[in-house]
């Protein structure tokens, strides 16, 4: 492996390096192609789509499909595009992310620094919550939302996402706080600080990375959710993923692929933005959630 750093390479080595790069770039192409195709399709007029190929660049680029997808496409019974649904997703995701993250932070703090008899059992039980297939709670959840009068409401979805996000957020914070030396907490206890003062003054100030990881994880999970959205919302309260599916899977006579693609990109923009803005934390969350799970 060190041969690469020495500048002089034998011919077989050079061929090896070249094919290495070739394979890596081919895969990069494979991963980028769908995004590229989505983007070019979304700015082509329909007749270009009908006559051209998948990868043909648009001859007369237009933003018409984007405007239509955003404001006037037919989704369900209304002709108002996905803007309203996009807003729904925001209204669901923001409170659910914040609440589940904050509760997770405090839970993680207790489960790592204020252990009590049974706290490890509690954590193990909660860990299961990360893994259950949500199908097994859909029916009772639907009933419960009905009883609470939250069926088909944004608040109902906020509740659902908060509750089922808790397992992950607690896991993240607990594993992060376990890495902070107990001596720090003991020092603060001896300095006279209590439960909350230690949390505010000692733990929170060093928690920025884990807040980033958790918030990004939760945002991606909740924004991209489809199952809860399709089960617990109706018509106007649907999140953007459900709306996108309704748009794409409509049985309308003329398929407007450009509008579909524009809508898909709009639905993907927030999480893509989060990914490119804070990819480091995104990956850390993925591997933390997975490996430590």
């Amino acid at each position: 492996m060190d041969s690469t750093s020495t500048g002089t390479m034998s011919l077989p080595q050079m061929i090896g390096r070249a094919s290495l790069y070739a394979i890596l770039f081919l895969f990069a192409l494979y991963f980028l192609a769908p995004l590229f195709i989505m983007v070019i399709t979304s700015v082509k007029p329909m007749d270009e789509i009908r006559t051209g190929t998948l990868i043909a660049l648009p001859k007369a680029p237009t933003l018409e499909p984007w405007l239509k997808a955003w404001g006037s496409a037919t989704i369900g019974v209304a002709n108002e595009g996905i803007k309203g649904f996009f807003m729904n997703s925001l209204r669901i995701a923001i409170p659910a992310v914040l609440i589940s993250t904050l509760i997770g932070a405090v839970n993680g703090y207790v489960l790592s620094k204020w252990k009590f008899k049974g706290s490890d059992t509690f954590f193990a039980m909660l860990l299961m919550g990360c893994f259950i297939p949500f199908q097994v709670i859909l029916l009772p959840m639907a009933r419960t939302l009905g009883v609470l009068g939250l069926s088909g409401t944004v608040s109902g979805l906020v509740l659902v996402h908060t509750v089922y996000g808790l397992a992950f957020t607690t896991l993240f914070f607990r594993n992060f706080y376990v890495g902070i030396p107990d001596e720090l907490v003991n020092a603060a206890k001896i300095d006279g600080a209590g439960f909350w003062r230690i949390f505010w003054k000692i733990m929170l100030p060093v928690s920025k990375p884990i807040f980033m990881v958790t918030i990004i994880w939760q945002t991606t999970q909740i924004w991209n959710d489809f199952l809860f959205g399709v089960c617990f919302s109706t018509g106007e309260t649907q999140p953007v993923t459900v709306a996108l599916n309704n748009l794409v899977n409509t049985s309308a006579s003329v398929k407007e692929y450009n509008v579909d693609m524009a809508a898909a990109i709009i639905a993907a923009l927030p999480t893509l933005f989060v990914y490119f803005a804070a990819g480091k934390y995104f990956v850390r969350g993925l591997t933390a959630g997975a490996v430590k799970g």
Binding site: F116, N224, D225, Y257, L272
Partner: protein
């Protein structure tokens, strides 16, 4: 002495007592929520799966009748068969490509950061978006088929999306595209965690690079294989959105998975008990994989 301790405790002011129970107080709501929303709900679902429920919950206990019925339904059988096929291919491709990319990326590649971001970005997308994109690309009229024909191969035909024998593979294609980056990230982290001196020692011993990878590096990634296998299985069993968007379970029910089956029976067809039975089956599948995994994880942590 016990007397002394008691007096000392009695002298506590209310603040100290509050301070003492604070940790428990703080996690209590989550604990209650967990008991109700996870364990209570699972029990409720299991109970419903043993009841006569149809459109509305009905609490008459009928035992395992619904499970017997479930396994007689061809659609459920197809869904499980699909899960095995789809899950197997999905895991195999993700692991193979992910490992390959991770090893290649670990060769002091220029642009590693950029390439890694490209491999990983699909993970940030919703399966609904992924499904939408692939649905368009695999579209028999205007998609890949047309592209290849325009390039000169006139007889090329690619109709998997609407072919009930092949449609399940389109789901594999899209799912692999979305999740490979994740496996790559896990393997890359694993590779970076390997002690470099081991590899140097092997080089000094005169082992060739492929041999070092086959005999030393890959075997030491065993925990990563294990971990990603668990996660991918879990993703496969929960797969729902991708199928809904890409094929709606069709043509017919040829691409149904347990998750879409459950949704169809419980929410659109109003067969609560059967839906609950299928959900319970899914739960048991996941548990069969997760419980041993968690057990070994926690045990190795306790020993270490």
């Amino acid at each position: 002495m016990a007397e002394l301790m008691r007096t000392a405790e009695r002298s506590y002011n209310p603040f100290t007592i509050l301070e003492r129970v604070m940790p428990k107080l703080v996690v209590a709501p989550s604990f209650v929520a967990m008991l109700i929303f996870i364990y209570g709900f699972i029990l409720w679902t299991v109970y419903i799966s043993m009841s006569k429920s149809t459109f509305l919950p009905n609490y008459d206990f009928v035992g395992l009748v619904q499970y017997v019925r479930l396994w007689k339904i061809d659609r459920w059988y197809v869904a499980c068969k699909n899960l095995l096929l789809y899950g197997g291919l999905f895991i195999a491709f993700c692991t193979a490509i992910g490992l390959l990319l991770a090893i290649f990326l670990d060769q002091k590649i220029r642009l590693e950061g950029a390439l890694r971001s490209i491999y990983l970005y699909p993970l940030s997308l919703s399966f609904v978006v992924t499904g939408t994109a692939w649905r368009w690309m695999l579209n028999p009229g205007l998609g890949l088929e047309r592209l290849v024909r325009e390039m000169g191969w006139q007889s090329f035909s690619f109709d998997w999306l609407v072919n009930s024998d092949m449609a399940i593979y389109t789901i594999v294609i899209a799912a692999v595209w979305q999740s490979t980056g994740f496996v790559m990230a896990m393997f890359l982290a694993g590779l970076r965690g390997i002690d470099n001196s081991i590899i140097k020692a092997a080089q000094v011993d005169g082992a060739s690079l492929p041999r070092i990878y086959l005999k030393i590096v890959i075997p030491s990634l065993r925990p990563v294989f294990f971990g990603s296998f668990i996660i991918l299985t879990h993703i496969a069993i929960k797969s729902f959105d991708l199928v809904v968007v890409l094929t709606r379970g069709g043509p017919g029910y040829s691409t149904d998975l347990p998750a879409t089956f459950m949704y169809a029976y419980a929410f659109t067809r109003g067969r609560l008990a059967l839906g609950a039975a299928s959900a319970t089956m899914m739960f048991m599948m996941v548990m069969a994989i997760i419980v041993p995994y968690l057990y070994s994880e926690l045990r190795s942590k306790a020993n270490g």
